[in-house]
């Protein structure tokens, strides 16, 4: 069965689509903020790993939630109603470069978030300074990807 059969393209922003967009943006922003807090703690010599790992799992969950809601929004609304307007507008690069980059790089983010959560959970049991520094570097990479993704999202929204 073709899974796309049920994904009927919408032409107008329904309350459900608006809710999905809100969950996608706010969930993503809070998850990025959580990675910021995690990084601040991992830069300390003796972080509270219980707090950090809980935050890391929360961030991973929010990234998956943000990912899932955006996927539904993209398939049912963006492609049919938003993308044509951007391509016909003054800055088609908002879709051809920024959205295309965003949607592919963002695929990595939930899995990077899970890696950070697993590392911090391991650090709870076995504090290891080398792993702490590596996890901090991974969190910094996740933070940069997250910030770039958020900035791309704003640019795409501003190009309609």
């Amino acid at each position: 069965m073709d899974p796309r059969v049920d994904a009927r393209p919408a032409k107008h922003m329904t309350p459900i689509l608006a809710t999905l967009l809100i969950v996608h943006v706010i969930g993503g922003v809070i998850a990025i903020g959580m990675h910021n807090v995690i990084l601040m703690h991992l830069l300390k010599k003796a972080p509270n790993y219980i707090f950090v790992s809980r935050l890391a799992w929360s961030a991973a969950t929010l990234f998956f939630l943000s990912w899932a809601t955006s996927a539904y929004y993209y398939v049912t609304y963006y492609g049919s109603a938003v993308k044509p307007r951007i391509l016909a507008g003054a800055t088609p690069a908002a879709h051809t470069f920024f959205m295309e980059t965003k949607e592919h790089i963002f695929l990595v983010l939930p899995f990077v978030a899970i890696s950070i959560a697993l590392c911090t959970t391991y650090l709870r049991a076995v504090p290891d300074d080398a792993l702490r520094k590596s996890t901090a570097l991974l969190t910094l990479i996740a933070l940069i990807i997250g910030a770039a993704t958020a900035a791309s999202g704003i640019f795409v929204s501003g190009s309609i």
């Binding site: 967009l21 943006v25 704003i154 501003g158």
Partner: protein, 168 residues
């Protein structure tokens, strides 16, 4: 109260907490460090001030994205392509990056303090008069860099003045 009104209030509260805490962080640090010793009580006061500043930043970012969503859903997207808006976003990103560099002890404290204080005030100024200024993105950032240099020199002067011996 409308949703937009709520977001505006949240944004203003976040800015007030952030600008106020950034100002008092500098005042407290200058006073506490005048004898080159920061006691445990003074450390706690500074930690509380930084917590208020981070709370302000959190409220500012969440309400900011809330407003962006509101503009997107109401199709009022002109603001999203204005130079002052992107300059403000850049300054908030610098604010976050500066906090991380200070935490990692990569950024010298004097430079970090000047960047933090200037960034908070720059975000406030751009939030208030951003729509009325005609400067480009690069021009705004040049003014911002000049402001950081001036604030850095002023803070250095204040710290030296606080350290100077006094005749009682």
């Amino acid at each position: 109260m409308t949703l937009y009104g709520f977001l505006i209030i949240m944004h203003i509260v976040g800015t007030v907490l952030g600008v106020g805490a950034a100002t008092f962080a500098e005042i407290h640090y200058a006073r506490f460090n005048s004898d080159d010793i920061i006691t445990d009580d003074e450390k706690k006061t500074l930690a509380t001030t930084y917590t208020v500043m981070r709370t302000g930043l959190f409220l500012l970012v969440i309400s900011g994205f809330g407003m962006l969503l509101y503009f997107r859903l109401t199709e009022y997207v002109d603001i999203l392509s204005s130079p002052s808006f992107w300059a403000k976003m850049t300054i908030v990103a610098i604010l976050v990056g500066n906090a991380l560099l200070l935490q990692a002890r990569i950024m010298p404290f004097a430079v970090g303090a000047a960047v933090s204080l200037t960034s908070w005030y720059a975000a406030l100024v751009l939030g208030v008069i951003g729509k009325t200024i005609s400067a480009s993105y690069v021009e705004i950032l040049i003014y911002y860099v000049i402001a950081i240099a001036l604030v850095g020199v002023s803070l250095r002067w204040i710290h030296e003045w606080m350290h100077a011996p006094r005749n009682i």
